[in-house]
């Protein structure tokens, strides 16, 4: 079974890798961002869908890593690879330090604690004066170089494929974790944490694992986003980004991993197009959320199952009626 999941990820990546051949520069760039937001939503799903801890502050890890990268490259003139490592590792360290505190809270309390955490980060960035660039953020982030003639990260195609490669590796790692005994125990914690405790599992430690894995994924994609845009601003720490990631998980189908990935990517593409056409993007996002909750409580990921049931029900009924 595990082999099949990996094959599906690789197949998806192979299909996405063909995108630059079919689309222009614009769509390649748009897909790069779609993968970044989709990937971040997938990472968040480990925490929200698998462990049952809804977070409204996940954007903070995305933004913190971006700021780490930006500070390294623009303030301290580091090599972009070093800055990326710094941004990601520092974010993971912050997550590790904050996790034991955060995971004591459950449900709505956890959601609020994370919202507060995100707002603190946002506040530090906007009030950081010269150092963080305040409201203006930090522009001028150089992209790293692979040192390969045929793979130039400054080109849209090159960066797209690099993003795809990182996303593929990360997704395989997260899928493996989700299918592992630890991943299954996370689901157990989601469904009944007292019972897991009674069975002798260290529930708090496992919650910390889920929290840090999700934060690490957010950090990696945050660093990619910083390099992609060449810019980091307080918008990347805004609670609205966190809300969009959380909605991606809900609309995509919490716990399914691929659903949030698809929803996160699709939401970004829809958003980019809609903001050109209408000023009502938040309304559209809200409407999508309501529809998802009313019609597809399991999100996009449950469409297959819903359709299958619809298909089977009439046949079964017909079979019952034709019975004597």
């Amino acid at each position: 079974m595990r082999g099949r999941g990996e094959l599906i990820v690789l197949l998806g990546a192979a299909i996405l890798a063909c995108a630059p051949l079919l689309f222009g520069v614009y769509w390649t760039n748009l897909l790069t961002q779609a993968i970044i937001f989709g990937g971040a939503a997938l990472g968040l799903d480990i925490l929200v869908g698998r462990t049952g801890m809804p977070s409204l502050g996940h954007g903070a890890f995305f933004g913190l890593a971006g700021y780490g990268v930006a500070l390294g490259v623009t303030r301290w003139s580091w090599n972009p690879w070093l800055a990326a490592a710094f941004g990601i590792l520092a974010t993971i360290a912050i997550a590790l330090a904050f996790a034991p505190l955060a995971v004591r809270a459950r449900g709505l309390t956890f959601l609020t604690v994370m919202l507060a955490f995100g707002q603190v980060c946002w506040g530090l960035a906007t009030r950081g004066g010269e150092f963080t660039g305040g409201e203006n953020g930090l522009p001028g982030i150089r992209r790293p170089s692979l040192g390969l003639d045929f793979w130039d990260l400054d080109s849209p195609d090159g960066f797209y494929l690099f993003t795809l490669l990182v996303a593929t590796i990360l997704t395989l790692a997260i899928a493996r974790l989700a299918a592992s005994p630890v991943g299954l125990s996370l689901q157990g914690i989601r469904d009944n944490d007292r019972r897991m405790l009674a069975l002798g599992y260290n529930v708090a430690a496992r919650r910390v694992v889920a929290f840090v894995v999700a934060a690490a994924a957010g950090a990696v994609y945050g660093a990619l986003s910083a390099f992609f845009n060449g810019f980091v601003g307080p918008g990347s720490l805004d609670w609205r980004l966190s809300a969009q990631l959380l909605l991606s998980v809900v609309i995509g189908g919490a716990g399914s991993l691929w659903g949030p990935f698809a929803a996160g990517g699709a939401l970004h593409i829809v958003r980019t197009y809609l903001t050109g056409e209408t000023q009502r993007w938040p309304m559209v996002l809200g409407a999508l959320y309501v529809i998802a909750v009313l019609v597809l409580p399991g999100g996009i990921a449950s469409i297959g199952g819903v359709l299958r049931r619809r298909w089977r029900r009439p046949r079964r009924q017909a079979a019952l009626e034709s019975a004597p």
Binding site: L10, L11, A13, A14, A17, C18, P20, L21, L22, F23, G24, V25, Y26, W27, N29, L30, Q33, T126, R127, G133, G134, E135, N136, G137, P139, G140, F150, W151, D152, S155, D157, G158, L161, L164, L165, N229, G230, F231, G233, G235, S236, T272, T275, G276, Q279
Partner: protein, 392 residues
């Protein structure tokens, strides 16, 4: 597909696009010049963005959306005042809509990332309002121009005027705590000090504050003889009311950059009378260009007089149209050269660019006075050829 084929594909795909033909975005109609307009039409800057867009439309409609037979096509996009969204939309305009030039932005924060983007994509960017100094600083990239004043440009004139002409010596400054406020107060303080004044107190309320009580009460009215303020919209409105409630006005003179009363002058009422501002435009100018501008504004169905934001949009459009005319279809470099050589007279007077792409304009010192037609900004002094690092 097996893993090996996927890996070989991944390695190969960066090569292929260069060799093969690629899908292109919507091509512009033959000969048309496409301009991408990036202004906020949602969010806290929406009201200003709409006014800038009004000015831009007003100018291009006035010339029949064509320059010397070249059709001008405007493509509008909403930045929401957010740098990230502005970048996403700029990418759409340049890479999909294939615009020949970008114009716009209201708030400063959007300007530096957009300027970087314009440099990478090698698309000319003419900034309408956003004053972030860095994009016309020493490291400026050659694709960026700004027709509005840079942050602090008019404040430098104001600082000199306050000390030299008004004879004030000790100032307290009030500005929202963000980079724009810092750059503006910096400009004011520099020329104020050079002319013998001294800033004795700097108050920095958080961006968007409307309760200034805690900040006003920290300034001892006896220790200062003038107050400098940089706020806008509802913030500026609340500030003048609270100054009066705390008893600082009308005894103390208040000086401010022109965005202070933009759109809220009538609501300020008596509190605004006597307020001295430095800015690039006031509808009170009696030039032929300004009269034509006001007539066009009203003929288009707008009530009252155009504010500074409408003028900024209009002037920026004028500069771009003249550059297109001068370039005469000679391509990107010709357009950049034409922009650099700009010499136009708009509703607010003459405009040229310095060697860093920053507009050199006339600065008007105005005072709010009661006239027969209600409150108006009456010109006290006109300072010509004001550069971004102006000194008297």
């Amino acid at each position: 597909m097996n893993r090996r084929r996927f890996v070989s594909m991944l390695a190969l795909s960066p090569l292929l696009p260069a060799a093969g033909a690629r899908a292109q975005g919507t091509p512009a109609p033959a000969g048309a010049f496409k301009i991408g307009v990036l202004n906020p039409t949602t969010g806290q800057f929406a009201v200003f963005g709409e006014q800038v867009n009004t000015g831009i439309r007003l100018y291009f409609d006035g010339i029949g959306n064509a320059v010397d037979g070249t059709a001008i096509e405007l493509v509008f996009a909403d930045t929401a005042g957010d740098p990230q969204q502005a970048l996403d939309q700029a990418r759409r305009l340049v890479q999909e809509e294939r615009v020949d030039l970008l114009m716009g932005t209201v708030n400063s924060a959007v300007v530096p990332p957009l300027a970087d983007f314009a440099g990478q994509e090698q698309v000319p960017l003419v900034v309408t309002v956003g004053g972030a100094r860095v994009v016309t600083g020493p490291d400026r990239n050659p694709f960026v121009f700004r027709t509005a004043m840079a942050n602090g440009q008019q404040d430098r004139v104001l600082g000199w005027y306050t000390a030299e002409r008004l004879g004030k010596q000790r100032a307290a400054t009030f500005a929202w705590d963000f980079l724009v406020g810092e750059e503006r107060v910096g400009g004011f303080a520099e020329t104020f000090a050079a002319a013998g004044g001294e800033v004795v107190a700097q108050q920095k309320p958080p961006l968007g504050t409307t309760d200034y009580g805690p900040f006003i009460s920290q300034v001892d009215p006896g220790s200062v003889d003038v107050l400098y303020a940089f706020f806008a919209g509802p913030g500026a409105l609340a500030f003048v009311q609270q100054l009066r409630e705390f008893g600082l006005t009308p005894d103390l003179q208040v000086v401010a950059a022109d965005y202070f009363t933009a759109g809220v002058l009538d609501q300020m009422g008596e509190d605004a009378i006597g307020l001295i501002q430095a800015g690039a435009y006031t509808p009170a100018l009696e030039t032929a260009e300004n009269q034509a501008f006001i007539e066009a504004y009203q003929a288009a169905g707008n009530e009252g007089l155009p504010g500074v934001y409408v003028e900024e949009g209009y002037t920026c459009a004028l500069v771009i149209a003249e550059a297109i005319r001068a370039a005469g279809g000679g391509g990107k470099q010709a357009l950049l050269d034409a922009l650099a050589a700009t010499q136009v007279t708009g509703p607010a007077g003459p405009l040229t660019f310095d060697e860093r792409g920053q507009a050199v304009r006339t600065c008007y010192i105005t005072r709010v006075e009661e006239t027969d037609e209600g409150l108006a900004q009456v010109v006290l002094e006109t300072v010509e050829n004001v550069t971004q690092d102006w000194t008297p």
